[in-house]
Amino acid sequence: MTRLVRPDATDRRIVGAYLGRVLLGVALLHLPAIGMALVLGEVDDAAAMAVGALAATVVGRAATLRWSTEEALDWAHGLVTVALAWLVAPLPISLSFVLSGHFGSYLDAYFEAVSGLTTSGLTMLLDLDHLGSGMQLLRHLTHFAGGQGIILVVLTVLSVGGGQIGTLFVGEGRDERIVPSVIRTARLIYVIFTAWALVGTAVLWGVLVQSGMGRGSSLLHGIALFLAAFDTGGFSVHSTSVAYYHSGLLELTLVPVMLAGAVSFPLHWDLWQRRVRSATQQLDLRMLATTTTVLTLLVLVGLGVAGTYADAGALTRKGVFTALSAATNTGFSVVAGSTYDTWGQLAPGALVAIMILGSMAGSTAGGIKTIRIALIAKSILRDVRKALAPPSSVVVATYRTRRTRIVTDEQVRGAVVITLLYLVTAVGGSLLHVFHGTSIEQALFESTSATANVGLSTGAINPGNHWSVKVLTMFQMWAGRLEFLAVFALFGYAVAVVRGRRA
C-alpha cells in the first residue's frame, strides 16, 4: 500500500490560516453575550467573556497573519480544517466559561463548549440556575455557531469522500474550489435561519409572557429556547430544562421548532420556494416520518406497560415530547434524569433507538440520519428481488430526492459504514461507563445520547465523572457531529505528518 504524502509547509499554512479565521468568528460570537452582560450589570461575566474574546482575537489574528496564503483550500484541507475547527473553537469559549466560576475544572468548561458547538446539550455546569444571562446567551450562541456551521460543512466539505450523503443534496457539476461553494451555501442557510429566528423567537416570547414571566426575562428565555430548539441543541437556562416552565402551550410551541430544526436545509429551501410536493416525496422525509411515528408509539406503549403515569394526558404529553426531543436530537427534557428509572425497560430502549437513528441529513440533528437507513432498506429489498430474478435481468433500486435516482453500491457502502461506526461508537463507549460502575442501561442511554448529539441524560454524565468518561463523551460528540470521516481524515493527516513520504 502506498504511503500517504507528508503534508508540507503550504498545507500547514492553509489549515492554520483557516483555523485563524474560525477563531476570529468565535471572538465575534462573544460580542452579543458581552453586550447583554454589560446591560444587565453582570460585570464579572462581561470581563470573563472579554478575556475569552480577546484571546480568540489575538490568536486568530496572529494565525491569519502568520499563515496568510493565496493557495486554494482543497477538499483534503477542508476535512482536516473542519475536524480541527470543532476542537479549536471550544478553547476560547471554555476560557470564558471557566472564568465565570461555574465550572469545577477547565476540562468541564471545555466539555460544555464542545457540547454546545456540537449541538449536543449535555452539561457540566455546577449551578446552572444561577449562571448570568450573558453567559447563558454565550452558551446558546454556541448552538447557533455549531449548528449552522455543521450544515454548511455537511453540504460542502463533507460531501466529498466516503460519506457521500452530502452529494445527494448538492448538484453534480461541482466547483473544485471550496470557498465559493461554501459562501453560496452559507447565504442560503442564513436567509432561512433568519426567517425562522424572527418568527420563532417572537412566538416563544409571546407564549412566555402569556404564561406570566417578565418581558425582559421572557425575551432571554425565548431567544435561548429558540436557539436550542431550532439548532437541535438542547441547552437550557434552567437545570430542569423545559419542565421548568410547566407549560403545555410552550411545549407545543417547541415541538414545531424542533421538527423544523430536524428538517434538512435543502428541504427548507424547497418549502421556501413553495415546492411542497417535491419536498414531501423525498425519501429522507418519509423515512423520518415513519421511524419517528413508530418509535414514538413504542415509547407510549412502554410507558403504558410500565405504568409510570396514571393519567393518560400526562403520559402522552411526557411521552410524545420526550420522543420528539430524542428524534430531532434536541435533548430538551420534561423528565428529571432520575425519573427514567420509573420508565421501565422498553420506553428508554425505544428512546435509545430513536436517538441513534437521528433525523434528516443536512440538518443540525445528529445520529445515523434517516436517509442512510432508507438507502440501506432499499438496497436490501433490491437484493431480494435480484436473488429471485432470472440471472440475466438487471434489478436496480431507486430513491427520490429532488429527482428520482438510482441507489449505487458506493452510496450504500458509505451509508452502511457510517451507520456501523455510529453503532460501534455508541455501544463501545457504553463499556467505559459500565467499567466506571454505571448500569448498562444507563450507560447505553448516555453513550448514545452523546454520540448522536442529543443531550438527554439520565444523570449519569455529571461533573463528578472520572476524567476518562468526560474525554470519551467529548470524543463521541465530536466524532458523531463530524460523521467520522473528517475525524479519520485528521488521524490520517497526523499519521502522514509523522511518517508520510515526501511528495
Binding site: 477538499w75 483534503a76 425497560q345 429471485l388 435481468s393 453500491d409 448498562i440
Partner: protein, 510 residues
Amino acid sequence: MRALRPDADELRVVVGVLGRMFEATAGLHVPALVVAVAVGELRDASALLLSATLALLAGRAARRLRAPDDELRWSTGMVVVASTWLLVPVFVALPLWLSGHAAAPIDAYFDAMSGFTTSGLSLLQDLDHLGAGLQVLRHLTHFAGGQGIVIVVLTVLARGAGGASTLLVGEGRDERVVPNVLRTARLIYLIAGAWAVVGSSVLVVTLLGSGLTPWRALLHGTTLFMAAFDTGGFSIMSSSVAYYHSAAVEAVLVVLMVAGALSFPLHWLLWQRRVGDATRSLDLRTFATTTGLLGTLLVVGLAVHGTYADAGALARKGVFTAVSAATGTGFTVVAPQAWGTWGQLGPAVVVALMGIGAMAGSTAGGVKTLRVGLLAKSVLADVRRALAPTSQVVVATHRSLRRTSIVDDGQARSAFVVTLLFLGCYLAGALVGVFEGASIEAALFESVSASANVGLTIGVLVPEASTLLKAVAVVQMWLGRLEFLAAFALVGWVWQLGAAGASDVRTRLA
C-alpha cells in the same frame, strides 16, 4: 417493479429437491437407530423408526413431483436452502418430543433447529438421562447442518448478492447448480472425514485416560467431536464440558473448535501444504486479531473483577470461554448462574466475541471476521481517498486465499449490509427479551448467542421461557445461519407464489 412470478414448474423443482433432503434426514436416523437398538432403548428406537419412516415417505412423495436436476436455478437454490433449514428439523423434533424430554412441541423443534444451525442451545429437560440413540441423533444434526451450510455458502449463497462468499470461491463457475454442489461436497467431506477420524480418536483416548468406561468414552468422544468441529455446542451432559473436569479434554476441544472455525477453502490450502498463502488471508488475520484482543480483554476483565482467585483457573476458564464464544461453538465450563460472578465487562466481551464470529465458509455463525476485515479496509481507503489529491485513484485491496484483489463497492456493500442485519437481529431479539422481563444484559447475551449460532446461555432461554421468546430464538437461529438473504428470498418467493395463486383464482372467477 415486480420480479418474475414463480410458476408451477418452479414449485415442482423446489418440492422435488426438498424431497431429497427429507430422504437424507431419514438416512441420518440410521446410526442413531442402530445405537438405540444396540443399547436396548426400545422406546426411543421405535420413535426414531417412526420419524425415519415418515421422512422417507414424505421424501418419496415429494420426489414424485420432481423435475430433472438441471432445472434447478441458482435463485431457486436459495429458496430450497431456506425451506430445508425450516422443514428438516421437524423430523428430528418428532423423536425428541416422543421421548418425553421436551416439555412442549416447540421445545423439541427448538432443539432440532438449534442442532441443524449448529447453535447448541437446548430446551430439553433432564438431558443427563436422554437415551444414547437420541444423543447420537442430536449430534448428527450438527454434522449434517454444519457440513451442509458450508456447502451451501460456497455454492448457492455465493451466487446471490451475498458477496462475501464470492471472495472465497473462484470466478469461473459452472452455471448448473447440482454438479457444482457435488464437487464442493466431495472436497468438504474429504477434509471433515480426515478430521473426524483423528479428532474422535484423540478425544476417545483422552476420555479413557480421564477414567470413562470404553463404551462411554466412545459415545462421548464422537459426539464431542461433532459438537466441536461443527462449532455446534450440544453436549451429552447438562453441565456441558465442565462435566469432565479435565484440562486435557478442554485443550483438545480448543484445537477442534478453532479447526471448525477455519474456512474450508483455508483447510484445503493447508491440506495442500500452502501454509504461506493461508496465513496471509485477510479473514484469518482478522480472526486472529479480534479473538486475541477480545480474549485478552476477557481474561483481564475477570482478573480485575476477581472472579477466580487462582490464576490457572482464571486463564483456563477465560481462554476456553473466549474460544468457545469466538468460534460460535457454545461449549461451556461456566454454569449459567455463575455468569453473575463475572461482573459486567466479562459477559460484555463474550457478547462481542459471539457477535463477531469466526471465518466465512466455516460452520461458525455471527457477522464473520472477513466482513469485519473488509469494513476496516474500506474505512481506511476512505480516509486515504479523502486525503489524496483529487486526481489520485485510491483502492482498497485484500488478500483472499490465493491472490490479492480489489475490494469493489458491490462486495463491500453486501458485506456491510449483512453485518448491519446481524446487529439489527441481535438488538431486536434483545428488545423482545427485555419485553419478556429479562434484564438487558441477559437478553442481549441470549439474543446474540442465538443469532450468531453460538449456544452459550446465561439462563434466559430455558424450558420455562415464554413461547414467544422460544419462537423468536428459533427464527434468529434460522436467519443467522442463512445470513438473511436466503431467508428473505424465501419470504419474497412465497409472497409471489401467493400473489400468483390469487391472480389465478381471480382469472377463474372472471
